[in-house]
């Protein structure tokens, strides 16, 4: 029997402002199964970022349990959390967070540095992941020599390199223009078609429309959990038709 990728039971997170206690998350129960493509939605202050930090093992819950791939991470030590982040989660950030003056290949290899993967396999794995994001011809380029969309694709390849159980993308298109956004979302959809679980945090309904399921947060509560009504579906070819080739650089 396969474990859910994520299961949260009654998680709460408190922030203290002077003598006031603010519940950023107040009793969230969620289950995300392997192969899902989930958008986490909500305005700022809704608790969606806090939720992402909890399931991304970046921050500790105040109450409740978080299970990642069957591991109860809410009771883990910082070192164990680091291992879970390394093995189970692939992060994609709004600002790409690539190492400057470092080649795409070395950027993709970065998570391997903290894993148990034998060094002989690094190059092959990095190349395979760069191939999956169609950047096989840009392996030696540094971030400054790549467009925004290409940089985000390097970041996605980096997220894939340790074969995580999910990709956790925090506003991945926030710094991209419309056509590049479509290109990146098409890539996510394609990865999802091939079995990768994707969790996407966004405040834009247009972006969330690419996901299969949408969780909507408001004031620390989960107010809606529904399948996407009119799902936008693009494959890579469609996206590249829309994309102005000049913008790809």
């Amino acid at each position: 029997m396969t474990e859910p990728v994520i299961r949260t039971t009654g998680i709460r997170k408190a922030y203290h402002m002077g003598d006031q206690t603010l519940w950023a998350l107040d009793g969230i129960d969620t289950v995300i199964e392997p192969g899902e493509f989930v958008a986490v939605m909500g305005p700022s202050g809704s608790g969606k970022s806090t939720y992402m930090n909890m399931i991304g093992c970046l921050d500790a819950v105040t109450e409740g349990q978080v299970y990642i791939d069957g591991n109860e991470v809410s009771s883990y030590e910082p070192n164990e959390l680091a291992s879970i982040r390394n093995e189970k989660i692939g992060f994609v950030f709004q600002q790409f967070n690539l190492l400057a003056r470092t080649s795409a290949e070395d950027n993709v290899k970065l998570p391997l540095l903290y894993s148990q993967t034998p060094e002989e396999e690094w190059t092959e794995r990095a190349m395979r992941c760069l191939d999956r994001v169609s950047l096989s011809d840009r392996v030696d380029n540094q971030p400054s020599q790549l467009s925004g969309g290409q940089q985000q694709r390097v970041a996605i390849a980096r997220a894939l390199v340790n074969d995580p159980v999910m990709i956790l993308a925090d506003e991945p298109t926030g710094a991209l223009d419309t056509s590049t956004t479509q290109e990146i979302m098409a890539l996510f959809q394609e990865l999802n078609e091939n079995g990768t679980t994707i969790i996407l945090v966004t405040h834009e309904p247009e972006v969330a429309a690419y996901a299969k399921r949408q969780l909507i947060f408001r004031d620390g509560h989960l107010v809606s959990d529904e399948l996407t009504a009119n799902r936008v579906s693009l494959d890579i070819e469609d996206a590249s038709l829309i994309t102005d080739p000049a913008q790809l650089g």
Partner: protein, 409 residues
């Protein structure tokens, strides 16, 4: 994570900021090279002193005639000592291995058409003991030669080189001032004495020969000598011997108990050299201490830059943590960066120290001595400084919360 990976990461990170890395290392480079150079100068001076002491022989006292103040402020030995005092000391005092009288002068030495001015020393075979000297070739004086003041000579290596070159000097006749003498031996090389004058630039002849034919006989004191040397045995202290000799000479020379000054002076050359060396050593230690302060200052520079680097790379730290770096991985990464900065700085410092001491030896004629231990200690110490001053910034980096680090603007 293994140490090689860590060093690779550190080198990569440092090579991304070459200029800054070099400037950061500068403090360590200067500190390490300064310490090594100072210690090398000290060790060189010590080596010179040791060589001088070695050449002089240990437990040797020199006895000069009384000092006379001259009008110009200079002083000159007055011929108040006699050659018989040497034997007298051996007979009367305990703990004397040898006592040697010397008459010294200067003469023009001529061989063939070659001409050389040298010190001429008249003495007995005992000088081999008191001056701790040996023959390179040839033979000592015979008793007969000493008694009758024969014209035989032992020559220093400089005289041999200047007058004879590669040919064999033994049995040759040289002209010493106004007379001819036969070379019967060559003294082994001894190097400069404590005052820096070369002891190999010498012709040694029987005492009588020199007194009669080079310096001339002092009418007031026909048995006068320039100075005496006494070698004490290892079982007596030099202070004791000095006192004993002082008492004996006062008696023999009939010095009034209330005399303002003695007509002789006893000098412990080794002691003088040693006390001068001690002063020098204190001075060198002081310089090395000042130099090591610059090492510490260099370490603080490293700490400063590491703090800046941690702040500047907060997002990188956040990212590394997000993709699986443990707090210890981050700690080690920055620690190894600091150690690498210091270690490489230390190596460059060692290189510079070697360069500078080479220049000092070659162009400024200074004796320096770089101890391999000092080199290892300096590199080890600078790496230690890396650990010490790198630890706080590294700890600060590792204590960052991934979520805060990622959001850092």
């Amino acid at each position: 994570m293994n140490i090689f990976k860590l060093f690779k990461i550190a080198l990569t990170a440092l090579s991304l900021n070459v200029m800054r890395s070099i400037l950061t290392m500068l403090g360590i480079i200067i500190g390490v090279s300064a310490v090594i150079i100072m210690v090398a100068i000290g060790a060189g001076a010590q080596q010179e002193v040791d060589a001088q002491l070695e050449a002089m022989g240990s437990n040797v006292l020199m006895i000069f005639g009384g000092w006379n103040n001259r009008g110009g402020g200079g002083t000159a030995a007055v011929a108040t000592l006699q050659d018989k005092y040497a034997q007298m000391m051996i007979d009367e005092l305990y703990g004397i291995e040898a006592a040697t009288p010397y008459v010294s002068g200067r003469a023009q030495i001529i061989f063939g058409n070659l001409n050389w001015s040298a010190d001429v020393l008249g003495t007995t075979n005992d000088f081999f003991v008191t001056k701790n000297w040996n023959l390179l070739e040839g033979r000592e004086f015979t008793a007969a030669e000493m008694n009758s003041g024969e014209r035989v000579a032992l020559i220093g290596t400089i005289i041999r080189d200047e007058l004879f070159g590669a040919s064999n000097p033994i049995g040759q006749s040289i002209r010493v001032g106004t007379f001819n003498a036969t070379v019967i031996g060559v003294l082994e090389e001894k190097g400069p004495d404590a005052r820096g004058s070369d002891q190999d630039d010498v012709v040694v002849m029987p005492l009588k020969t020199v007194r009669n034919k080079v310096t001339g006989i002092n009418r007031n004191n026909p048995n006068s000598v320039s100075y005496l040397e006494v070698k004490g045995s290892d079982t007596v202290s030099m202070t004791y011997l000095e006192e004993e000799i002082d008492n004996l000479l006062r008696q023999v020379m009939k010095v009034a108990p209330d005399a303002e000054r003695d007509p002789f002076r006893i000098l412990d050359q080794a002691e003088r050299i040693e006390s001068r060396a001690e002063t020098q050593a204190i001075f060198n230690t002081l310089l090395a201490a000042v130099a090591s302060v610059s090492l510490i200052v260099g370490g603080i520079g490293i700490m400063n830059i590491m703090m800046v680097s941690v702040t500047e790379r907060t997002r990188e730290i956040g990212l590394r943590m997000a993709i699986g770096a443990k707090p210890d991985d981050i700690l080690n990464q920055f620690l190894v960066e600091a150690i690498t900065l210091c270690g490489v700085g230390g190596l460059i410092g060692v290189g510079i120290a070697y360069g500078v001491t080479y220049v000092m030896e070659t162009y400024f004629d200074m004796v320096t001595l770089i101890n391999p231990e000092i080199v290892l200690i300096s590199i080890g110490f600078s790496a230690l400084i890396g650990v010490f001053f790198g630890y706080y910034p590294a700890l600060k980096a590792s204590k960052l919360q991934p979520i805060d680090a990622l959001r850092y603007e």
